[in-house]
């Protein structure tokens, strides 16, 4: 069976701003398959919004090609691209009612009044803004979450081939954002939409997307399923951007067995996956805090020893810090209190799940 062609394909796309020569986007490749949400995740200024604007046609690449449904769209102005965009500021037309906002795109397509009426009603139901109650409201009568839904409905109602999201939930508070993310994901699945979701918030990105593309300084540095990117980052930047991580220096790096490397940490042999970076930089190992177990007594498999130097309860789990015998610190996260009964400063034994240790280079 043949793979369907990607909905969106970026080929070596660049955007260099004159006159400074600043490379906002520096040769990126990305594909979005039908029914797939890909998040572009990165710190502000990494070029993710510029990328989105180039896909929508609001900005033009200085190099490369943007292809939608296997066809280059570089020559097409935004209104002919059939790409929906949900803006960060939402850009709800303030002088139009909810119905008029949502109907706008259909009106531009010269749909008949009856069709517009029908489609608007249905999409408003879908985003849980019952038309009887909301259709005639003005934007200033809506809450932030409701405006969000209007923006979504307005974009979806035109049935775009591809929907772009430019951090539309950045202004919502955490709880509402999580709720909307779940809901948006459900709608996307239901309609089988292909989408690109730009954000700097890794939790939203993980929750929302089939794949995440991490962007840094105009380049995509890693693409993959959220779990994979989280567990197996290819660089320190990715590891740090996606959450808490321990970065430790091994004493020695031994031989290779496939992707596995054996090495020594604080005098104890452990194994790690080699990320295979093309760098001659100093090697270090990386693992997430939740992959370290801590014991108050010696146990088999728990070879690393250290001293508990700090522990705090942070809602649902304990965050603690241990200084290894070689002086390096390990941060861990457990649901049980590691200090149970013992005062800080007590000797502890650690075991790191070898599946989750990565060998990276500076």
């Amino acid at each position: 069976m043949q793979m369907p062609p990607p909905v969106l394909e970026l080929r070596n796309v660049s955007r260099i701003f004159a006159p400074s020569g600043f490379r906002a986007v520096d040769g990126i490749d990305l594909q979005v398959a039908p029914g797939e949400i890909v998040s572009i995740l990165g710190p502000s200024g990494c070029g993710k919004t510029t990328t989105l604007r180039m896909i929508a046609g609001l900005d033009n690449p200085t190099g490369g090609d943007v292809r939608i449904a296997n066809e280059s769209v570089l020559q097409k102005p935004p209104h002919l691209r059939k790409v929906g965009l949900v803006f960060q500021s939402l850009a709800i037309f303030p002088h139009m009612s909810v119905r008029q906002n949502v109907a706008f795109g259909l009106r531009m397509q010269r749909a008949s009044t009856a069709v517009i009426e029908d489609k608007v009603d249905r999409i408003l139901e879908l985003v849980q803004l019952p038309p009887a109650q909301f259709a005639s409201r003005q934007p200033e009568q809506l809450s932030g979450g409701q405006l969000q839904r209007v923006a979504l409905a307005r974009t979806l109602v035109t049935e775009p081939a591809l929907v772009l999201f430019d951090e539309p939930m950045a202004s919502l508070d955490r709880r509402l954002r999580d709720y909307m993310a779940v809901e948006l994901r459900a709608i996307q699945k239901k309609l089988g939409l292909a989408a690109v979701y730009v954000t700097h918030d890794q939790e939203t990105a993980s929750a929302m997307s089939d794949r995440i593309a991490i962007m840094d300084s105009g380049r995509i540095v890693q693409v993959g399923r959220p779990e994979d990117v989280y567990e197996r980052p290819d660089s320190r930047f990715v590891a740090e951007f996606l959450g808490d991580a321990n970065f430790l220096k091994p004493q020695a790096v031994g031989g290779r067995n496939g992707k596995r490397r054996s090495l020594q940490l604080s005098g104890v042999p452990i194994e790690a996956d080699d990320a295979g970076q093309q760098s001659n930089g100093e090697p270090f190992i990386m693992f997430r805090p939740e992959h370290v177990a801590i014991r108050a007594k010696q146990d088999k498999g728990a070879g690393l020893t250290g001293v508990l130097t700090g522990c705090q309860f942070s809602g649902g789990y304990y965050r603690w810090r241990v200084q290894l015998t070689d002086g390096q610190f390990v941060v861990g996260r457990t649901t049980a209190d590691p200090a149970r009964g013992e005062a800080n400063g007590g000797k502890v034994w650690l075991s790191i799940n070898p599946e989750h240790v990565r060998l990276l280079r500076q």
Partner: protein, 277 residues
């Protein structure tokens, strides 16, 4: 602010307030005097008026619609002034709207220079503009008429029109236009569907300002009027030259009322917009 600032209360504040009231009375005195003298019962500008009456308004009314309507040409001049003011406002809109849009939305080379040039009509001496236009028209062999006077008024009105539109445009999010574009609107459609409705207030106040400036403009009209294009200020000036009677003040008072009405209208338009910010 609830707290009373050091030294700002009491005597100092009262003195400033009193001074302000006195100064405002002086500033408004000519306008007040025009209105006051328009109600005089006397034949001259004797102050205080010997009595109050509406006789001079009656005289103006007879010039406008009564027996003297034919000979006085007041109605004709009024109509001409209204036509010129409306035409000047429309001209300013046609020239100012696209230019304001370009200045607000685009960065381009020479924008600073164009910005400066567009401010030029404010400082340019109107006498010189009027005379130079007169000379140019006569040199080109054309006849004076409605067009030169409208163009002259439009030139000095343009910066005021553009100020209003630019302020309004700056209050609209460029993202709204982009949203319209991604929803399938062409650039022109996006402007008319989204931007234009949002800057209506600015356009209206700009047009009203230009209208009132043109309606009141004396200097330019003084050089460019003809027998057929004879605006109200010129009519009033000539009346003042022939017989300086309180009738002039009745006509002037009517102009003052019209002016104040338009100013209050603009203030409401702009004030509402300001309150929303």
């Amino acid at each position: 602010m609830k707290s009373i600032a050091i030294g700002r209360g009491g005597a100092e504040a009262a003195a400033i307030k009193l001074l302000t009231i006195i100064l405002l009375l002086v500033l408004l005195s000519p306008i007040v005097m025009v209105v006051a003298m328009s109600f005089t019962a006397g034949e001259t500008l004797q102050f205080p008026p010997p009595g109050l009456s509406l006789r001079w308004y009656a005289e103006i009314w007879s010039m406008l619609a009564g027996d003297d309507a034919g000979s006085s040409r007041l109605g004709e001049s009024l109509a001409m002034s209204l036509v010129i003011a409306a035409a000047a406002a429309l001209t300013c809109l046609a020239a100012g709207l696209p230019a304001s849009y370009a200045l607000v939305r685009f960065r381009f080379r020479g924008r600073g220079v164009i910005d400066e040039l567009l401010g030029l009509p404010v400082v340019f001496p109107t006498v010189v503009l009027g005379i130079a236009l007169l000379v140019l028209v006569s040199m080109s062999g054309l006849d004076l008429g409605l067009v030169p006077i409208v163009v002259a008024h439009a030139i000095i009105g343009l910066p005021f029109m553009m100020r209003n539109i630019i302020v309004a445009l700056q209050g609209t999010d460029p993202k709204l236009e982009e949203a319209a574009r991604t929803l399938g609107a062409s650039p022109v459609r996006a402007f008319f569907e989204v931007i234009l409705p949002l800057i209506r207030g600015g356009i209206a106040s700009g047009m009203l300002l230009v209208f009132i400036l043109s309606f009141n403009e004396f200097t330019l009209s003084y050089f460019l009027y003809t027998i057929d294009v004879f605006p109200l200020p010129i009519w009033l000036f000539q009346l003042g030259n022939t017989s300086f009677s309180p009738a002039i003040f009745a006509a002037s008072a009517l102009i003052v009322f019209l002016n104040i009405g338009v100013i209050l209208l603009v203030d409401t338009l702009v004030g509402n917009r300001g309150a929303a910010v």
